[in-house]
């Protein structure tokens, strides 16, 4: 281990997250690899190691002959200060080698508030922030993940973005890079070739042209680049033949999701109109029950974990969930393994599942009705009725649960005060359901209502909507808080508005926000997802310094004809479908789920057969 590093580790919190050496970490011989990838997660070790996508791509890359993929995380503040003071550049955990010496530096972008960490990590690595200041072929800075669906705010910093699922496209671009390196290509030549790979968006080949009113006139393809008009995201068609990390790194220190994560399927059949994941991960593709049971058990055996999560966007929509639980149950009971089923929908939370879950410890149950009235739930296409929810909580209460969390959003399109107050009514009905059905009334009940401030996201039916103003959000929070004043069993929490505002600015931002990001980072922004570090004033100052009006991005409704910064990105779902869905919202009309009836969103075109297996 590096001597300088050894000296600073005794002074930092949780040093185990900075040293690597975990079970199943991949260590290769430097002399026997010709392509080195630094896989960077722009948050702490505990968050990054909990990310299943990172584990999948780590496995995919390290399976490749001659490729060594290593992990890099953002250091916590104390460690960053020590690293800067002692001139230790950002290094990869497996080898301890500095990131600047790698061929490819790949970032996983999960949420907007991590953007400042991307810049900070590039800087800690000793790399110039902007792509144009890195003229050589390597290190190539690439990024993928959910936020890549609107890559524009990060465009000047990243050489290319990877859209969609990375299992297939990653080896493709790595092979191309290997050839470019061997043949001594220039960076420009490599990027022109990379742009021909489906799913790769090279921001340098697309120039935003603005109108006088500040909106986009066009995203113009740069002449001679040969880049395609639109870049379509990549998907894995057959989940059963896709790589799954059965043998994966088991951290020696505790992480956030410290358990086996079994991915049941990708995509979601529901089509909630606010949900970016529900649109951009289409179409639905299931893993088979037999394979899941086998992988789940082998993952428990190899990891030694005694907890397994069945993960997906909506776990109860897995076609044979009860059957899968049956398959896993024998092993789990015999080996003290707890089975977790998050993301259950309130409408089909079946008795059988409740009983199965209740065998373990009864942690709290969380439901997300999202809106307080049926009208608004229909408008956002959250196909959940009040009776479904109440039936589910009755089942839960009579099976012995005594804590329920309810999640809602404030500021959804078409929301009125009646909808806001509907949240309080619904929470009270949940309370009365407990009075009626509680297995043990003496234990009391805890009902927690949380509201967040709705952030319109790209590629959703609400991508044209304005986020309500902060004053209006606060008024609605106050309205609801007053409504709860006399309910002693109900706790009301609301989300901090400052982060939600910045999320709204960045989520639908264009390339002009890159300067703001850099200015905010220069003012000290990093770890913005952590309240310990987040400072709204830095961002306000950065926006002012760059002459950018944040409200223009957050609170302005876009016309349906406006050119959107992400218009060159094709998720498979057509803009026509999104417009139709938005209109149905205003008509308070629901759209059936994909299994009931195909609504022609366009995502099936991504499949060779053209038919979803939802």
């Amino acid at each position: 281990m590096d001597k300088k590093l050894e000296r600073i580790l005794p002074r930092v919190q949780k040093p185990a997250r900075y040293v690597g050496g975990e079970y199943n970490a991949v260590v290769k011989d430097r002399a026997r690899v010709d392509l080195r990838v630094a896989f960077c997660f722009p948050d702490t070790y505990e968050i990054g190691m909990s990310n299943l996508g990172m584990r999948i791509l780590y496995g995919v890359m390290n399976q490749m002959e001659g490729v060594w993929c290593e992990r890099v995380f953002a250091p916590w503040g104390d460690m960053e200060a020590e690293m800067r003071e002692n001139h230790i550049p950002l290094y990869a955990l497996e080898s301890g080698d500095g990131v600047a010496g790698f061929d490819v530096v790949a970032f996983s972008l999960g949420y907007e508030m991590a953007y400042s960490n991307v810049l900070n990590m590039l800087d800690l690595a000793g790399l110039p922030l902007r792509s144009t200041d890195r003229p050589g072929l390597g290190p190539l800075v690439v990024a993928g993940g959910t936020c890549a669906y609107n890559p524009e705010p990060l465009a000047p910093f990243i050489d290319f973005f990877v859209l969609g699922e990375g299992e297939e496209v990653t080896p493709e671009y790595l092979q191309l890079y290997r050839r470019a390196k061997a043949e001594g290509w220039s960076k420009g030549r490599f990027l022109r070739a990379a742009a021909q790979i489906e799913g790769i968006y090279v921001p340098a080949f697309c120039a935003p042209i603005y109108k006088e009113d500040g909106t986009l006139a066009e995203m113009r393809a740069v002449e001679g680049s040969g880049a395609p008009e639109t870049v379509r995201k990549r998907i894995v068609e057959d989940m059963d033949s896709a790589y799954f990390p059965v043998e994966t790194i088991i951290p020696s220190t505790e992480i956030v999701h410290d358990r086996v994560m079994l991915e049941l399927f990708r995509g979601c059949i529901r089509g909630c109109r606010f949900c970016q994941a529900g649109y951009v991960y289409r179409p639905v593709r299931n893993r088979s029950r037999e394979q899941l049971a086998d992988q789940g058990i082998r993952a428990c055996q190899d990891s030694g974990y005694q907890e397994m999560t069945l993960s997906s966007l909506s776990t109860s929509d897995y076609p044979d969930l009860v059957g899968l639980c049956d398959d896993l149950e024998g092993y789990c009971v015999g080996h003290h393994v707890n089975l977790n089923l998050p993301s259950l929908r309130a409408d089909n939370f079946s008795m059988a599942l409740a009983q199965r879950l209740s065998r373990g410890r009864k942690a709290g149950l969380t439901f997300a009705p999202e809106a307080g009235t049926q009208r608004l739930r229909d408008a956002i296409n959250k196909n959940l009725t009040e009776e479904d929810l109440l039936q589910s909580v009755r089942t839960a209460f009579s099976n012995g649960w005594s804590a329920v969390k309810l999640y809602f959003m404030l500021g959804l399109p078409t929301e009125t005060d009646a909808d806001v107050l509907g949240i309080a009514d619904l929470a009270r009905k949940v309370y009365f359901a407990w009075r009626e059905c509680a297995a043990n009334r003496a234990r009391g009940v805890r009902i927690t209502v949380s509201t967040s401030w709705f952030v319109p996201k790209p590629h959703t039916a609400f991508q044209w909507e304005a986020q309500i103003t902060r004053a209006e959000y606060q008024r609605r929070v106050d309205l609801l808080r007053d409504a709860f004043q006399r309910d002693k069993s109900i706790t009301y929490n609301w989300h901090d508005p400052e982060t939600s505002y910045l999320e709204a600015v960045l989520a639908r931002g264009d390339r002009r926000l890159a300067d703001v990001l850099e200015a905010a980072w220069r003012r000290g922004a990093r770890m913005d997802a952590w309240s310990e570090y987040f400072d709204f004033q830095r961002w306000v100052d950065a926006l002012a310094e760059c002459g950018v009006d944040g409200d223009f991005y957050a609170h302005r409704e876009r016309s349906r004809y406006e050119v959107l910064p992400w218009c060159r990105i094709d998720t498979g779902v057509t803009p026509a479908f999104l417009r139709r869905e938005r209109q149905r919202c205003y008509d308070s009309k629901t759209t059936p789920d994909c299994r009931t009836q195909c609504s022609g969103c366009g995502a099936s075109r991504l499949l060779k057969g053209g038919v979803c297996n939802g």
Partner: protein
């Protein structure tokens, strides 16, 4: 007493694994190796496993002891190899046997405390340090049971110290009392900083070499 006592070493990157994390790491390694550790009875069953004398984060050791019980008997001789295939880098199982003595009979420990001086070990440091540590009293700030820092005399717990000066490091070979009360060998370096501030090292490394019983034999 537990059914088995495992001897293992903890070195390299693994020295940064904390006590609780190490417990979890072993629990998982046992499962990977197909060993069923006995669980406590009760509402929240947990595996019956404990370290004889937990090691501070950052210190290495050639002689860690883990007591555990299993459901059913196991073959002691092959256990270290079975576990080693399942442990992270830096932790190596060395031997496994039934415990000979109860933990209360653990008496002393041997440790090497390396004081690193980047610009060379100052002349006369070895003699000065040995004399100080074996002097009348050795006061260090130590956390008491109320978690407050308080000055404590650790001299009664220091049994022997020899200092060996090398080029850029001075190694203290120390024998100290292990419990009731014990002293962390790392405090010897703290004592040097306090009593001989001009000999403050640039870095300190502690390596635990042996745990001893009352007769001075390796504790088993």
């Amino acid at each position: 007493m537990a059914d088995y006592r495992l001897t293992f070493s903890k070195e390299g990157r693994a020295v940064w694994i904390s006590h609780l994390d190490l417990l979890r790491t072993f629990q998982r390694a046992f499962i990977r190796a197909g060993l069923v550790v006995r669980h406590s009875q009760g509402f929240h069953p947990h595996p019956v496993m404990s370290f004889v004398l937990p090691l501070s984060v950052g210190q290495s050791s050639a002689c860690e002891l883990l007591d555990f019980s299993t459901e059913g008997a196991l073959e002691e001789a092959s256990l270290p190899q079975r576990l080693n295939d399942c442990l992270p880098e830096g932790i190596r199982a060395l031997a496994c046997a039934a415990p000979v003595k109860p933990v209360r009979e653990l008496d002393g420990l041997l440790a090497d405390v390396s004081l690193c001086y980047d610009s060379g070990v100052p002349a006369g440091a070895a003699e000065a340090i040995a004399a100080t540590l074996l002097g009348e009293s050795v006061i260090v700030a130590k956390r008491n049971k109320k978690k407050q820092l308080a000055d404590t005399d650790i001299r009664p717990m220091i049994r022997a110290v020899t200092a060996e000066a090398g080029e850029d490091r001075l190694v203290l070979h120390a024998a100290v009392q292990a419990q009731n009360p014990g002293v962390n060998p790392g405090l010897l370096a703290a004592a040097v900083e306090r009593h001989l501030p001009f000999l403050r090292p640039d870095a300190v490394q502690v390596r635990r070499r042996a745990l001893l019983d009352r007769s001075g034999e390796p504790f088993r």
